[in-house]
């Protein structure tokens, strides 16, 4: 067995009393925990009457995060339908745009959570929302970096530009500060003025930095010269243009020239009179000590990394990144503070260790949403092929299954999970089969939706089981028609037989049929079971009889017995039904038909006379039976006589 990466977290169940033993039962995404009376000798005393539910994934129950699940489901399904056969060159922009879609959904969710966190009056909720925001922030940060490094896979030159965008997006407090400064009466005198300028420079937003500097320059005409010089340096800093004609080497030469020029300015103490400008100059040179002095403005080691790359190694190659990342992290973080999970995840990303990123995220984050979707996207980019798990199918499928199983435990989100299972080729179907049967069915409409899911996937076993549940429920409420419809839909012959039996019993008891609208319109469904066929045909007999089409009725009645469609137990009823036909003035049963009827009656009576059957019958009942048989015999012989006479008579 593999070792665990981290110690499992402990969940305290507050209501459980100390010193008591605990029993538990696994649910789908939860565990039921209860107190047990465990004693070595004879359990006595009272236990706690409570059962506690421990849920694995609370995030699913957040109404705002539900939007994330729903919107990302839509993107996920779109991603699965990207055609395999497209050349990979055409696919990359699609993957990048899908990745951006995912991120924008995260952002939208985050913004809404932020608003709610601010507006809510409940302090506890506010903290909870705040936590969710910070988790989403981290998720988006990691996702964005993965997009730059793995999905977009930017080459040297443009790599840095992407990383700059990444840092700018996630260090947006500069803009807030800048707004404060600019809105004040005299921006250049504002307390945060220089912080803003330096922050702009650190993020490579040099035009904005120049505009800011301009405000100061107009205030101090005496120092106008050095401001001009700085403005000049900033304006001349070259940036790589990936779309342009310039090669990377040409850019490198140009950048070195600029770098030397900055260095010269520093050497001849041009900025000695203004310490702020001197600091900026040092930053432009990429001086590590100066950069590290602005830890509070940088905020994070990865900002430090990107700023350092910007001013020292603007043409950094993807393969060199890990070296700089590692050194920046050690330089930036104090030896005292250990790197947090987020730091190690980002570092793993810079090292291009995708599996480590996914693994660390799975451990650090409390939901499967992120890892499942990211892994799926990376898998589509063909970045995960080399890795095999010791269990299950592959990493993508494993994570998707975990995520989807979590969704399935939710009373409402289970519908989303179906599409995720569909796109897990190896085990998805098995999971779905097991889960779908366990969806509680409150209404027929919900049952129909679940059925549709099963029928689309040819899951006939589940279709039968769902229909049976619905049929049983209808039967329990004495809705025979409904129950029959359900069993017809499931093509469940045994159950249809059972219900037909009930219909016939009802008929025997009441003398009338219920639910005629259904039975009269059975159509081909009648052939589902013998008993159902009989029910339908027997009703047809009544209809013919009612319409006074006696000949046809008689023929049908006889055929029900001779073709063995009617159950033996019902023959007596059928023969009794024949009585009025036999007693009609005109001859309805022909001589041959009468013989057959007689044969049926004899067969029936001989089987009735077996000693086992008469033991528990009361004398009275037996009397009634006997009278019936006598009456029938009489009617049959009279009819036979009439029929022979009629058939023997030559029409003149």
């Amino acid at each position: 067995m593999e070792e665990v990466d981290v110690e499992p977290t402990i969940t305290n169940i507050p209501a459980l009393r100390r010193g008591k033993h605990m029993g538990f039962a696994w649910g789908q995404g939860n565990i039921f925990v209860y107190e047990t009376l465990f004693k070595a000798t004879g359990a006595t005393g009272s236990g706690s009457p409570f059962i506690h539910e421990v849920r694995k994934d609370e995030d699913i129950y957040s109404p705002i995060l539900r939007k994330l699940f729903n919107e990302s489901h839509h993107i996920f399904v779109g991603l699965q339908t990207i055609r395999e056969d497209l050349p990979s060159k055409n696919k990359k922009p699609q993957f990048v745009s899908i990745s951006k879609n995912y991120r924008s959904v995260i952002r939208a969710c985050m913004e809404e959570l932020q608003q709610v966190a601010v507006s809510t009056k409940n302090a506890e909720m506010s903290v909870q929302y705040g936590n969710q925001v910070s988790i989403l922030l981290a998720i988006e940060l990691i996702w964005n970096l993965c997009e730059v490094l793995f999905i977009d896979a930017a080459p040297a030159g443009s790599l840095l530009l992407h990383l700059l965008d990444w840092v700018r997006l996630h260090k947006a407090d500069v803009d807030e500060k800048a707004r404060d400064v600019l809105q004040s009466d005299s921006p250049a005198e504002h307390r945060d003025y220089w912080d803003v300028v330096v922050s702009y420079v650190l993020q490579g937003r040099l035009d904005e930095a120049r505009q800011m500097l301009g405000k100061k320059a107009t205030l101090t005409p005496a120092a106008n010269n050095i401001y001009k010089m700085m403005d000049n340096l900033l304006s001349k800093m070259p940036f790589y243009n990936p779309g342009g004609t310039q090669t990377l080497t040409e850019f490198d030469v140009k950048w070195r020239h600029w770098h030397e020029e900055v260095d010269r300015c520093l050497q001849d103490n041009s900025f000695a009179s203004n310490q702020h400008l001197e600091v900026i100059c040092k930053i432009l040179l990429g001086d590590e000590d100066t950069l590290l002095e602005h830890k509070d403005l940088l905020g994070t080691w990865y900002h430090f990394l990107v700023s350092r790359l910007l001013f020292c190694h603007p043409t950094v190659k993807p393969t060199e990144l890990h070296y700089y990342a590692q050194s920046c992290m050690t330089m930036f973080l104090d030896s005292r503070s250990a790197p947090e999970p987020l730091d190690s995840i980002l570092l793993a990303a810079f090292e291009f260790d995708i599996h480590q990123v996914i693994k660390d995220c799975s451990i650090a984050l409390n939901n499967w949403w992120f890892v499942a979707h990211l892994t799926d996207l990376l898998d589509h980019c063909k970045l995960l092929q080399s890795h095999n798990l010791h269990f299950g199918s592959n990493l993508r499928e494993f994570l998707l299954l975990e995520y989807a199983s979590g969704l399935f435990t939710h009373h409402s989100l289970w519908q989303l999970a179906v599409d995720y299972f569909d796109h897990c080729l190896e085990f998805g179907r098995v999971y779905l089969e097991l889960q779908i049967e366990r969806v509680p069915l409150d209404t027929e409409r919900k049952a129909l939706k679940v059925l549709r899911i099963c029928e689309q996937r040819q899951m006939s076993e589940q279709v039968r089981s769902i229909c049976k549940i619905m049929a049983m429920r209808a039967l329990r409420n004495n809705r025979l028609g409904s129950a029959l419809s359900w069993s017809i839909r499931a093509k469940d012959a045994a159950f249809a037989t059972l219900i037909s039996e009930r219909f016939l019993q009802d008929y025997c008891a009441k003398g009338t049929f219920s639910d005629l609208d259904l039975i009269d319109n059975l159509g081909p469904a009648m052939l589902l079971s013998d008993r159902l066929t009989f029910l339908g045909k027997y009703r047809e007999f009544h209809k013919l009889y009612g319409e006074k089409r006696f000949k046809e009725a008689a023929k049908l009645l006889l055929s029900l017995m001779t073709a063995k469609i009617a159950p033996r137990s019902f023959w007596m009823t059928l023969l009794t039904d024949a009585l009025p036909l036999l007693e009609q003035k005109e001859v309805i049963f022909s001589a041959d038909q009468t013989y057959e009827l007689m044969f049926c009656l004899e067969e029936l009576t001989s089987s009735l006379n077996t000693p086992s059957s008469d033991s528990d019958k009361s004398m009275q009942e037996e009397d009634v039976e006997l009278t019936k048989v006598e009456l029938l015999r009489l009617a049959l012989s009279r009819n036979l006589a009439m029929a022979i006479v009629k058939e023997g008579t030559v029409e003149t």
């Binding site: 409150d442 027929e444 409420n477 319109n521 469904a525």
Partner: protein, 372 residues
Amino acid sequence: MESINAKYVSQKISKTRWCPVSYSSLQQPEVFATGSWDNEDNKVSIWSIGNHNNSGLEDGFEGDPQILCEHKHGGDVLDLQFLDQERMVSASSTGAVTIFRYHPNTHTISVLQHWARAHSYPCDNAPCTALVCSSPEIVTVGEDGRIVVFRADQEGAVRVIENADSSTIHAVTYLKTTEVLTVNSIGQLKLWDLRQQSSSPSQILSLSGDRAPLHCVDRHPNQQHIVATGGQDGMLCVWDVRQGGTPISLMEAHSAEMWEVRFHPTNPDHLFTCSEDGSLLHWETASHSEMPSFLQGGRNSSVISHGALTPAGGNRPLSSAWLCGDSGKGCLETTHMLPSQTMSVNSLDIIGQCLVCGTDGEAIFVNRHVPV
């Protein structure tokens, strides 16, 4: 497609209904109601697409639905209808029927009337599947096969037809003021004359063949004898109840259950359907003859396949024999109104140029510029 506007609402939407506007004012509707299903706590909610607080410019563009108020609803909302501009009636999976009152000034909802077990079995709940109102009368139907008539101002039921159907009644609509039509799960349409005291329908129409269950029905707004139904197989059927028997025309519309069909209330050459397959279709008959094109096929009904997989937004004229055949005048065109969707569209409503629909993907779509 630009004019369609999606909003995720964190609840699966089972019904969407515009709050009625007075026809004389020629106003576009601004307020609609939704009902949710399959949640732990279901709700009836009122939304507005107007700019009430003028904050529209800041977040989201104009017409983004904003929630005005909501009210808890016991059980799934299986149907929702406006009785008038301030009162709406809901049908619940618990069998209850409730009249809510919406106060437009204070943006609150209160319960006016609640019939707890309008539909029920002796020892179990029977979901109330659909209802139709014509103020003050409310007709409800349920899985228990009953038809119940209520009056908004009376405590008890005015009329109960026990065993009106042996299977589940899925939908109901008025034909005339005293006549309702129900559709059931064995493919039958039943006409009920509420003046008669008998508990059997005055007429039964049914599909031939495998009797696919019917899930929705709507009556032509001007010609009371024409009704459209949608069923489990996604087929759209148009019936002439005067001619009885079988449908006048059958059209293959969707690849799964059709949940709702709706004639445009003022321009009935347009018809809208939505389905479990996640699509919302706009049907338009470009007929210039006096007779509505739905009826031009005569009695010999034929099945028209238009291929439910028409790309989203693509128009595809249906040059079919039964419509264009003899006269060459009629023509039917269908348009997909939603971008590619996977989750079921459960409900739709249209007034004027405004269409609203709700999905199992927990989204509400509003289109304010439907070309009708």
